[in-house]
Amino acid sequence: MDTTHPQVLPEGSPLVRFSGVTKCYGPLTVLDKLDLDIAQNEMVSIIGPSGSGKTTVLRVLMTLEKINDGVIYVDGEPLTHMPKAGGLTFSTERYLHERRSKIGMVFQQFNLFPHMTALQNCVEAPMQVLGLSREDAEERALNLLELVGMGEKKDQHPTRLSGGQQQRVAIARALAMRPKVMLLDEVTSALDPEVIGEVLNVIRSLNSEHNLTMIMVTHQMGFAREISDRVCFFYEGKIAEQGSPEQLFGDPQNERTKQFLHAVLDAS
Protein backbone atom coordinates (compact mmCIF):
# COMPACT_ATOMS: atom_id res chain seq x y z
CA MET A 1 0.00 0.00 0.00
CA ASP A 2 1.33 3.36 -1.09
CA THR A 3 0.21 6.41 0.91
CA THR A 4 2.82 8.91 -0.25
CA HIS A 5 1.17 9.51 -3.65
CA PRO A 6 -2.22 11.22 -4.01
CA GLN A 7 -5.27 9.23 -5.14
CA VAL A 8 -6.16 11.89 -7.71
CA LEU A 9 -4.23 14.82 -9.14
CA PRO A 10 -5.67 18.33 -8.74
CA GLU A 11 -7.54 20.02 -11.60
CA GLY A 12 -5.16 21.40 -14.24
CA SER A 13 -2.52 18.73 -13.76
CA PRO A 14 -0.57 17.46 -16.78
CA LEU A 15 -2.07 14.74 -18.98
CA VAL A 16 0.66 12.27 -18.02
CA ARG A 17 2.73 12.29 -14.85
CA PHE A 18 5.52 9.90 -13.91
CA SER A 19 6.04 10.31 -10.19
CA GLY A 20 9.18 8.70 -8.81
CA VAL A 21 8.87 5.75 -11.19
CA THR A 22 11.40 2.95 -10.77
CA LYS A 23 11.63 -0.08 -13.04
CA CYS A 24 14.07 -2.92 -12.45
CA TYR A 25 14.88 -6.07 -14.36
CA GLY A 26 16.36 -8.25 -11.66
CA PRO A 27 19.35 -6.38 -10.28
CA LEU A 28 19.34 -3.89 -13.18
CA THR A 29 17.61 -0.56 -12.49
CA VAL A 30 16.34 0.67 -15.86
CA LEU A 31 14.25 3.63 -14.68
CA ASP A 32 15.52 5.34 -11.56
CA LYS A 33 12.93 7.42 -9.63
CA LEU A 34 11.83 9.07 -12.83
CA ASP A 35 9.73 12.24 -12.70
CA LEU A 36 8.24 13.38 -16.00
CA ASP A 37 5.18 15.48 -16.85
CA ILE A 38 3.59 15.66 -20.28
CA ALA A 39 1.07 18.44 -20.88
CA GLN A 40 -2.02 18.21 -23.07
CA ASN A 41 -1.06 18.71 -26.76
CA GLU A 42 2.62 18.62 -25.97
CA MET A 43 5.10 16.93 -28.30
CA VAL A 44 7.96 15.50 -26.27
CA SER A 45 10.96 13.78 -27.78
CA ILE A 46 13.13 11.39 -25.85
CA ILE A 47 16.72 10.95 -26.96
CA GLY A 48 19.67 9.21 -25.40
CA PRO A 49 22.14 6.38 -25.76
CA SER A 50 21.10 2.79 -26.32
CA GLY A 51 20.04 1.08 -23.09
CA SER A 52 19.26 4.32 -21.27
CA GLY A 53 15.64 3.30 -20.66
CA LYS A 54 13.86 5.20 -23.47
CA THR A 55 11.79 2.25 -24.67
CA THR A 56 11.04 1.26 -21.10
CA VAL A 57 9.46 4.65 -20.39
CA LEU A 58 6.97 4.05 -23.19
CA ARG A 59 6.40 0.40 -22.29
CA VAL A 60 5.54 1.10 -18.65
CA LEU A 61 3.15 3.90 -19.70
CA MET A 62 1.54 1.51 -22.21
CA THR A 63 1.20 -0.98 -19.30
CA LEU A 64 3.21 -3.60 -21.19
CA GLU A 65 5.50 -3.76 -18.14
CA LYS A 66 4.78 -3.34 -14.45
CA ILE A 67 6.76 -0.80 -12.45
CA ASN A 68 8.48 -1.51 -9.15
CA ASP A 69 7.99 1.83 -7.44
CA GLY A 70 6.34 5.21 -7.94
CA VAL A 71 3.07 5.97 -9.71
CA ILE A 72 2.10 6.90 -13.26
CA TYR A 73 -0.95 9.14 -13.63
CA VAL A 74 -2.93 9.67 -16.80
CA ASP A 75 -5.70 12.24 -17.06
CA GLY A 76 -5.43 13.04 -13.35
CA GLU A 77 -6.03 9.43 -12.30
CA PRO A 78 -3.44 6.85 -11.26
CA LEU A 79 -2.86 4.26 -13.99
CA THR A 80 -0.34 1.83 -12.55
CA HIS A 81 -2.25 1.95 -9.28
CA MET A 82 -5.81 2.26 -8.10
CA PRO A 83 -7.27 3.87 -5.02
CA LYS A 84 -7.83 1.58 -2.07
CA ALA A 85 -8.72 2.69 1.46
CA GLY A 86 -6.54 5.71 2.16
CA GLY A 87 -3.79 4.95 -0.38
CA LEU A 88 -2.94 3.29 -3.66
CA THR A 89 -2.50 -0.35 -4.58
CA PHE A 90 -1.33 -1.93 -7.86
CA SER A 91 -4.00 -1.92 -10.57
CA THR A 92 -6.00 -4.98 -11.41
CA GLU A 93 -6.33 -6.02 -15.07
CA ARG A 94 -9.92 -4.84 -14.99
CA TYR A 95 -8.95 -1.36 -13.77
CA LEU A 96 -6.30 -1.16 -16.49
CA HIS A 97 -8.73 -2.32 -19.16
CA GLU A 98 -11.00 0.62 -18.37
CA ARG A 99 -8.15 3.11 -18.89
CA ARG A 100 -5.64 1.66 -21.32
CA SER A 101 -7.45 2.98 -24.40
CA LYS A 102 -6.33 6.48 -23.44
CA ILE A 103 -2.86 5.48 -24.58
CA GLY A 104 -1.81 4.38 -28.06
CA MET A 105 1.53 3.00 -29.13
CA VAL A 106 3.41 2.56 -32.41
CA PHE A 107 6.25 0.06 -32.39
CA GLN A 108 9.63 0.02 -34.08
CA GLN A 109 8.73 -3.27 -35.82
CA PHE A 110 5.16 -2.14 -36.79
CA ASN A 111 3.61 -5.37 -35.40
CA LEU A 112 0.69 -5.26 -37.83
CA PHE A 113 -1.55 -8.33 -37.70
CA PRO A 114 -0.41 -10.35 -40.74
CA HIS A 115 -3.70 -12.23 -41.19
CA MET A 116 -5.65 -9.01 -41.63
CA THR A 117 -5.76 -6.38 -44.35
CA ALA A 118 -4.77 -2.79 -43.59
CA LEU A 119 -8.44 -1.93 -43.05
CA GLN A 120 -9.11 -4.96 -40.83
CA ASN A 121 -6.07 -4.05 -38.75
CA CYS A 122 -7.65 -0.65 -38.05
CA VAL A 123 -11.19 -1.94 -37.51
CA GLU A 124 -10.45 -4.83 -35.15
CA ALA A 125 -9.89 -3.08 -31.82
CA PRO A 126 -12.49 -0.32 -32.26
CA MET A 127 -15.10 -3.05 -32.79
CA GLN A 128 -13.85 -5.50 -30.16
CA VAL A 129 -12.84 -3.01 -27.48
CA LEU A 130 -14.85 0.17 -28.05
CA GLY A 131 -17.90 -1.71 -29.30
CA LEU A 132 -18.26 0.29 -32.53
CA SER A 133 -20.49 -1.13 -35.25
CA ARG A 134 -18.66 -2.41 -38.33
CA GLU A 135 -19.99 0.55 -40.32
CA ASP A 136 -18.73 3.15 -37.87
CA ALA A 137 -15.42 1.39 -37.35
CA GLU A 138 -14.81 1.15 -41.11
CA GLU A 139 -15.69 4.78 -41.66
CA ARG A 140 -13.30 5.83 -38.93
CA ALA A 141 -10.58 3.50 -40.22
CA LEU A 142 -10.94 4.69 -43.82
CA ASN A 143 -10.64 8.32 -42.76
CA LEU A 144 -7.47 7.51 -40.85
CA LEU A 145 -5.99 5.43 -43.67
CA GLU A 146 -6.63 8.42 -45.96
CA LEU A 147 -4.97 10.68 -43.41
CA VAL A 148 -1.79 8.58 -43.49
CA GLY A 149 -1.99 8.24 -47.27
CA MET A 150 -2.88 4.54 -47.26
CA GLY A 151 -6.50 4.72 -48.46
CA GLU A 152 -5.64 3.05 -51.75
CA LYS A 153 -3.99 0.11 -50.02
CA LYS A 154 -6.75 -0.61 -47.53
CA ASP A 155 -7.36 -4.15 -48.80
CA GLN A 156 -3.72 -5.22 -48.86
CA HIS A 157 -2.19 -7.58 -46.33
CA PRO A 158 0.90 -6.28 -44.49
CA THR A 159 3.25 -8.61 -46.39
CA ARG A 160 2.31 -6.74 -49.58
CA LEU A 161 3.28 -3.37 -48.10
CA SER A 162 6.66 -1.69 -47.76
CA GLY A 163 8.00 -0.93 -44.29
CA GLY A 164 7.02 2.71 -44.57
CA GLN A 165 3.51 1.77 -45.65
CA GLN A 166 3.18 -0.75 -42.82
CA GLN A 167 4.25 1.83 -40.29
CA ARG A 168 1.71 4.33 -41.60
CA VAL A 169 -1.03 1.69 -41.23
CA ALA A 170 0.23 1.01 -37.70
CA ILE A 171 -0.14 4.72 -36.91
CA ALA A 172 -3.70 4.70 -38.29
CA ARG A 173 -4.47 1.57 -36.26
CA ALA A 174 -3.35 3.26 -33.03
CA LEU A 175 -5.25 6.48 -33.88
CA ALA A 176 -8.46 4.52 -34.50
CA MET A 177 -8.72 4.01 -30.74
CA ARG A 178 -8.72 7.84 -30.29
CA PRO A 179 -5.99 7.79 -27.63
CA LYS A 180 -5.27 10.89 -25.58
CA VAL A 181 -1.55 10.31 -25.86
CA MET A 182 0.42 8.55 -28.60
CA LEU A 183 3.70 6.78 -27.91
CA LEU A 184 6.15 6.38 -30.78
CA ASP A 185 9.15 4.11 -30.22
CA GLU A 186 11.81 4.69 -32.87
CA VAL A 187 9.15 4.30 -35.52
CA THR A 188 11.58 4.90 -38.39
CA SER A 189 14.52 2.82 -37.14
CA ALA A 190 13.51 -0.33 -39.01
CA LEU A 191 12.84 1.54 -42.26
CA ASP A 192 14.90 1.95 -45.41
CA PRO A 193 16.21 5.51 -45.67
CA GLU A 194 14.09 6.39 -48.70
CA VAL A 195 10.78 5.75 -46.89
CA ILE A 196 11.59 7.45 -43.59
CA GLY A 197 10.35 10.77 -44.94
CA GLU A 198 6.80 9.54 -45.61
CA VAL A 199 6.41 8.40 -42.00
CA LEU A 200 7.91 11.59 -40.60
CA ASN A 201 5.46 13.60 -42.73
CA VAL A 202 2.55 11.77 -41.16
CA ILE A 203 3.86 12.50 -37.66
CA ARG A 204 4.45 16.11 -38.63
CA SER A 205 0.84 16.53 -39.73
CA LEU A 206 -0.51 14.80 -36.60
CA ASN A 207 1.44 17.31 -34.59
CA SER A 208 0.70 20.49 -36.49
CA GLU A 209 -2.85 19.90 -37.74
CA HIS A 210 -4.29 17.55 -35.17
CA ASN A 211 -2.51 18.73 -32.05
CA LEU A 212 -2.06 15.23 -30.72
CA THR A 213 -0.17 14.70 -27.47
CA MET A 214 2.85 12.57 -28.36
CA ILE A 215 5.88 11.08 -26.72
CA MET A 216 8.43 10.10 -29.31
CA VAL A 217 11.63 8.14 -28.80
CA THR A 218 13.85 8.92 -31.76
CA HIS A 219 17.34 8.93 -33.23
CA GLN A 220 16.31 11.47 -35.87
CA MET A 221 17.88 14.52 -34.22
CA GLY A 222 16.92 16.91 -37.01
CA PHE A 223 13.31 15.84 -36.84
CA ALA A 224 13.21 16.02 -33.02
CA ARG A 225 14.62 19.52 -33.18
CA GLU A 226 12.12 20.64 -35.79
CA ILE A 227 8.96 19.21 -34.29
CA SER A 228 9.30 18.94 -30.49
CA ASP A 229 8.00 21.29 -27.85
CA ARG A 230 10.46 19.71 -25.46
CA VAL A 231 13.36 17.29 -25.70
CA CYS A 232 14.43 14.98 -22.86
CA PHE A 233 17.90 13.48 -22.83
CA PHE A 234 17.95 10.13 -21.02
CA TYR A 235 21.00 8.71 -19.36
CA GLU A 236 21.00 5.58 -17.19
CA GLY A 237 17.29 5.63 -16.48
CA LYS A 238 17.10 9.29 -15.57
CA ILE A 239 16.45 12.53 -17.41
CA ALA A 240 19.93 14.00 -17.44
CA GLU A 241 18.77 17.18 -19.18
CA GLN A 242 15.61 18.55 -20.76
CA GLY A 243 14.52 21.73 -22.43
CA SER A 244 13.31 23.32 -25.63
CA PRO A 245 14.93 21.94 -28.79
CA GLU A 246 16.82 25.21 -29.30
CA GLN A 247 18.25 25.03 -25.83
CA LEU A 248 19.03 21.29 -25.71
CA PHE A 249 20.54 21.04 -29.18
CA GLY A 250 21.93 24.58 -29.37
CA ASP A 251 23.30 25.04 -25.89
CA PRO A 252 23.43 21.77 -23.94
CA GLN A 253 24.56 22.16 -20.31
CA ASN A 254 25.16 18.58 -19.25
CA GLU A 255 28.48 16.89 -20.16
CA ARG A 256 26.68 13.65 -21.11
CA THR A 257 24.33 15.52 -23.43
CA LYS A 258 27.26 17.24 -25.14
CA GLN A 259 29.11 13.94 -25.61
CA PHE A 260 26.01 12.20 -26.93
CA LEU A 261 25.15 14.99 -29.37
CA HIS A 262 28.72 15.11 -30.60
CA ALA A 263 28.74 11.39 -31.18
CA VAL A 264 25.45 11.25 -33.10
CA LEU A 265 25.99 14.45 -35.05
CA ASP A 266 29.48 13.30 -36.09
CA ALA A 267 28.06 9.97 -37.21
CA SER A 268 25.44 11.55 -39.49
Binding site: T63, E93, R100, I103, N111, F113, P114, A125, P158
Partner: protein, 221 residues
Amino acid sequence: MGYWEFLVEYLPKLANGAVMTVMVMVCATLLAVTVSMVFGLMRLSSHFAIQGAATVYIEFFRGTSLLVQLYWIYYVLPLMGLTLSPFISGVLALGLNFGAYGAEIVRGGIQAVPRGQYEAALALNMSPFSRMRRIIIPQIYTIILPPAANLTVELLKATALVALITVVDLMFVAKQINATTWLSAQVFGTALIIYYAMARFALIPFLRWLELIAARKIGKA
Protein backbone atom coordinates in the same frame (compact mmCIF):
# COMPACT_ATOMS: atom_id res chain seq x y z
CA MET B 1 -5.49 -68.35 -57.24
CA GLY B 2 -3.81 -65.50 -59.13
CA TYR B 3 -3.56 -62.01 -57.65
CA TRP B 4 -6.10 -60.68 -60.11
CA GLU B 5 -8.68 -63.25 -59.09
CA PHE B 6 -7.88 -62.54 -55.47
CA LEU B 7 -8.60 -58.88 -56.02
CA VAL B 8 -11.86 -59.49 -57.83
CA GLU B 9 -13.01 -61.70 -54.99
CA TYR B 10 -11.81 -59.81 -51.94
CA LEU B 11 -11.20 -56.18 -52.88
CA PRO B 12 -14.85 -55.18 -52.26
CA LYS B 13 -14.60 -56.57 -48.72
CA LEU B 14 -11.30 -54.82 -48.12
CA ALA B 15 -12.82 -51.60 -49.48
CA ASN B 16 -15.65 -51.86 -46.95
CA GLY B 17 -13.06 -52.21 -44.24
CA ALA B 18 -11.22 -49.18 -45.62
CA VAL B 19 -14.41 -47.12 -45.38
CA MET B 20 -14.61 -47.99 -41.69
CA THR B 21 -10.94 -47.07 -41.30
CA VAL B 22 -11.71 -43.66 -42.82
CA MET B 23 -14.64 -43.17 -40.45
CA VAL B 24 -12.51 -44.03 -37.41
CA MET B 25 -9.81 -41.75 -38.77
CA VAL B 26 -12.11 -38.76 -39.34
CA CYS B 27 -13.86 -39.03 -35.96
CA ALA B 28 -10.60 -39.59 -34.06
CA THR B 29 -8.98 -36.63 -35.84
CA LEU B 30 -11.87 -34.32 -34.97
CA LEU B 31 -11.64 -35.40 -31.33
CA ALA B 32 -7.84 -35.08 -31.34
CA VAL B 33 -8.01 -31.54 -32.79
CA THR B 34 -10.48 -30.47 -30.12
CA VAL B 35 -8.44 -32.06 -27.34
CA SER B 36 -5.25 -30.46 -28.75
CA MET B 37 -6.74 -26.98 -28.74
CA VAL B 38 -8.29 -27.23 -25.29
CA PHE B 39 -5.28 -28.78 -23.56
CA GLY B 40 -2.76 -26.71 -25.53
CA LEU B 41 -4.46 -23.54 -24.26
CA MET B 42 -4.79 -24.95 -20.75
CA ARG B 43 -1.04 -25.63 -20.71
CA LEU B 44 -0.48 -21.88 -21.17
CA SER B 45 -2.97 -20.82 -18.51
CA SER B 46 -1.57 -18.70 -15.70
CA HIS B 47 -3.97 -20.53 -13.39
CA PHE B 48 -1.97 -23.16 -11.53
CA ALA B 49 -4.72 -25.81 -11.31
CA ILE B 50 -5.73 -25.52 -14.98
CA GLN B 51 -2.16 -25.75 -16.18
CA GLY B 52 -1.48 -28.64 -13.81
CA ALA B 53 -4.52 -30.60 -15.00
CA ALA B 54 -3.37 -30.24 -18.62
CA THR B 55 0.16 -31.32 -17.76
CA VAL B 56 -1.08 -34.44 -15.97
CA TYR B 57 -3.36 -35.32 -18.88
CA ILE B 58 -0.61 -34.91 -21.47
CA GLU B 59 1.96 -36.78 -19.40
CA PHE B 60 -0.44 -39.67 -18.84
CA PHE B 61 -1.57 -40.15 -22.43
CA ARG B 62 1.87 -39.71 -23.92
CA GLY B 63 3.60 -41.76 -21.26
CA THR B 64 1.50 -44.91 -21.51
CA SER B 65 0.82 -47.34 -24.35
CA LEU B 66 -1.94 -46.54 -26.82
CA LEU B 67 -2.85 -50.21 -27.06
CA VAL B 68 -3.26 -50.50 -23.29
CA GLN B 69 -5.37 -47.30 -23.26
CA LEU B 70 -7.55 -48.85 -25.96
CA TYR B 71 -8.02 -52.03 -23.95
CA TRP B 72 -8.78 -50.03 -20.84
CA ILE B 73 -11.55 -48.12 -22.51
CA TYR B 74 -13.03 -51.20 -24.17
CA TYR B 75 -12.51 -53.92 -21.52
CA VAL B 76 -12.05 -52.16 -18.17
CA LEU B 77 -14.55 -49.29 -18.29
CA PRO B 78 -17.48 -51.78 -18.59
CA LEU B 79 -16.38 -53.23 -15.23
CA MET B 80 -16.93 -49.74 -13.83
CA GLY B 81 -20.33 -49.56 -15.41
CA LEU B 82 -19.46 -47.70 -18.63
CA THR B 83 -19.89 -49.88 -21.71
CA LEU B 84 -18.96 -48.32 -25.05
CA SER B 85 -19.24 -49.73 -28.55
CA PRO B 86 -16.01 -50.88 -30.25
CA PHE B 87 -16.21 -47.90 -32.62
CA ILE B 88 -16.66 -45.31 -29.86
CA SER B 89 -13.93 -46.95 -27.77
CA GLY B 90 -11.51 -46.87 -30.69
CA VAL B 91 -12.25 -43.24 -31.55
CA LEU B 92 -11.93 -42.22 -27.89
CA ALA B 93 -8.59 -43.95 -27.36
CA LEU B 94 -7.08 -42.59 -30.59
CA GLY B 95 -8.50 -39.08 -30.14
CA LEU B 96 -7.48 -38.73 -26.50
CA ASN B 97 -4.00 -40.16 -27.15
CA PHE B 98 -3.17 -38.15 -30.26
CA GLY B 99 -4.80 -35.09 -28.70
CA ALA B 100 -2.13 -35.22 -25.98
CA TYR B 101 0.60 -34.99 -28.63
CA GLY B 102 -1.38 -32.34 -30.51
CA ALA B 103 -1.72 -30.23 -27.38
CA GLU B 104 2.05 -29.87 -27.23
CA ILE B 105 2.10 -28.80 -30.88
CA VAL B 106 -0.59 -26.19 -30.20
CA ARG B 107 1.28 -24.91 -27.15
CA GLY B 108 4.47 -24.61 -29.20
CA GLY B 109 2.58 -22.84 -31.99
CA ILE B 110 1.10 -20.25 -29.66
CA GLN B 111 4.49 -19.62 -28.09
CA ALA B 112 6.05 -19.24 -31.53
CA VAL B 113 3.81 -16.30 -32.51
CA PRO B 114 6.09 -13.26 -32.18
CA ARG B 115 5.74 -11.45 -28.87
CA GLY B 116 5.14 -8.18 -30.71
CA GLN B 117 1.77 -9.48 -31.88
CA TYR B 118 0.64 -10.06 -28.33
CA GLU B 119 1.95 -6.64 -27.29
CA ALA B 120 0.29 -4.83 -30.20
CA ALA B 121 -3.04 -6.42 -29.25
CA LEU B 122 -2.53 -5.46 -25.61
CA ALA B 123 -1.63 -1.89 -26.60
CA LEU B 124 -4.99 -1.78 -28.43
CA ASN B 125 -6.55 -2.78 -25.10
CA MET B 126 -7.92 -6.06 -26.43
CA SER B 127 -9.07 -8.45 -23.69
CA PRO B 128 -7.05 -11.63 -23.06
CA PHE B 129 -9.81 -13.65 -24.73
CA SER B 130 -9.94 -11.45 -27.86
CA ARG B 131 -6.16 -11.40 -28.08
CA MET B 132 -6.07 -15.17 -28.15
CA ARG B 133 -9.07 -15.72 -30.40
CA ARG B 134 -8.67 -12.87 -32.88
CA ILE B 135 -4.91 -12.31 -33.02
CA ILE B 136 -2.84 -15.25 -31.77
CA ILE B 137 -4.82 -18.38 -32.77
CA PRO B 138 -5.33 -17.30 -36.41
CA GLN B 139 -1.55 -17.07 -36.72
CA ILE B 140 -0.65 -20.49 -35.35
CA TYR B 141 -1.89 -22.55 -38.30
CA THR B 142 1.12 -22.02 -40.55
CA ILE B 143 3.33 -22.93 -37.60
CA ILE B 144 1.48 -26.02 -36.38
CA LEU B 145 0.29 -27.55 -39.64
CA PRO B 146 3.54 -29.24 -40.72
CA PRO B 147 4.03 -31.11 -37.40
CA ALA B 148 0.27 -31.68 -37.13
CA ALA B 149 0.30 -33.25 -40.60
CA ASN B 150 2.94 -35.78 -39.50
CA LEU B 151 0.85 -36.62 -36.49
CA THR B 152 -2.26 -37.09 -38.63
CA VAL B 153 -0.48 -39.59 -40.86
CA GLU B 154 0.65 -41.42 -37.70
CA LEU B 155 -2.97 -41.41 -36.54
CA LEU B 156 -4.13 -43.01 -39.79
CA LYS B 157 -1.61 -45.81 -39.36
CA ALA B 158 -2.52 -46.26 -35.70
CA THR B 159 -6.20 -46.81 -36.54
CA ALA B 160 -5.24 -50.41 -37.42
CA LEU B 161 -5.14 -51.09 -33.66
CA VAL B 162 -8.92 -50.80 -33.39
CA ALA B 163 -9.17 -54.15 -35.21
CA LEU B 164 -8.05 -55.63 -31.89
CA ILE B 165 -11.26 -54.52 -30.20
CA THR B 166 -13.41 -55.91 -33.06
CA VAL B 167 -14.00 -52.74 -35.07
CA VAL B 168 -14.50 -54.06 -38.61
CA ASP B 169 -11.90 -51.86 -40.26
CA LEU B 170 -9.42 -52.58 -43.04
CA MET B 171 -7.09 -54.49 -40.73
CA PHE B 172 -9.94 -56.52 -39.24
CA VAL B 173 -11.23 -57.53 -42.68
CA ALA B 174 -7.70 -58.43 -43.78
CA LYS B 175 -7.28 -60.70 -40.77
CA GLN B 176 -10.66 -62.33 -41.47
CA ILE B 177 -9.75 -63.06 -45.08
CA ASN B 178 -6.37 -64.38 -44.03
CA ALA B 179 -7.96 -66.73 -41.50
CA THR B 180 -10.15 -68.35 -44.13
CA THR B 181 -7.86 -68.32 -47.19
CA TRP B 182 -4.30 -68.34 -45.80
CA LEU B 183 -3.34 -65.99 -48.63
CA SER B 184 -1.26 -63.95 -46.20
CA ALA B 185 1.03 -62.26 -48.73
CA GLN B 186 -1.85 -61.15 -50.95
CA VAL B 187 -4.09 -60.00 -48.10
CA PHE B 188 -1.60 -58.06 -46.04
CA GLY B 189 0.26 -56.84 -49.12
CA THR B 190 -2.99 -55.36 -50.43
CA ALA B 191 -3.80 -53.88 -47.02
CA LEU B 192 -0.39 -52.19 -46.94
CA ILE B 193 -0.97 -50.72 -50.38
CA ILE B 194 -4.41 -49.41 -49.39
CA TYR B 195 -3.06 -47.77 -46.21
CA TYR B 196 -0.23 -46.23 -48.22
CA ALA B 197 -2.57 -44.98 -50.94
CA MET B 198 -4.94 -43.41 -48.41
CA ALA B 199 -2.08 -41.53 -46.82
CA ARG B 200 -0.19 -40.65 -49.97
CA PHE B 201 -3.00 -39.75 -52.37
CA ALA B 202 -5.75 -38.45 -50.07
CA LEU B 203 -4.56 -37.43 -46.63
CA ILE B 204 -1.25 -35.80 -47.50
CA PRO B 205 -2.60 -33.76 -50.44
CA PHE B 206 -5.46 -32.61 -48.22
CA LEU B 207 -3.04 -31.52 -45.50
CA ARG B 208 -0.87 -29.69 -48.06
CA TRP B 209 -3.96 -27.89 -49.25
CA LEU B 210 -4.72 -26.80 -45.68
CA GLU B 211 -1.16 -25.51 -45.33
CA LEU B 212 -1.59 -23.49 -48.50
CA ILE B 213 -4.82 -21.95 -47.26
CA ALA B 214 -3.20 -21.07 -43.94
CA ALA B 215 -0.28 -19.44 -45.74
CA ARG B 216 -2.66 -17.41 -47.92
CA LYS B 217 -4.55 -16.21 -44.86
CA ILE B 218 -1.49 -14.43 -43.54
CA GLY B 219 -0.59 -13.11 -46.97
CA LYS B 220 2.23 -15.57 -47.68
CA ALA B 221 2.26 -17.67 -50.85
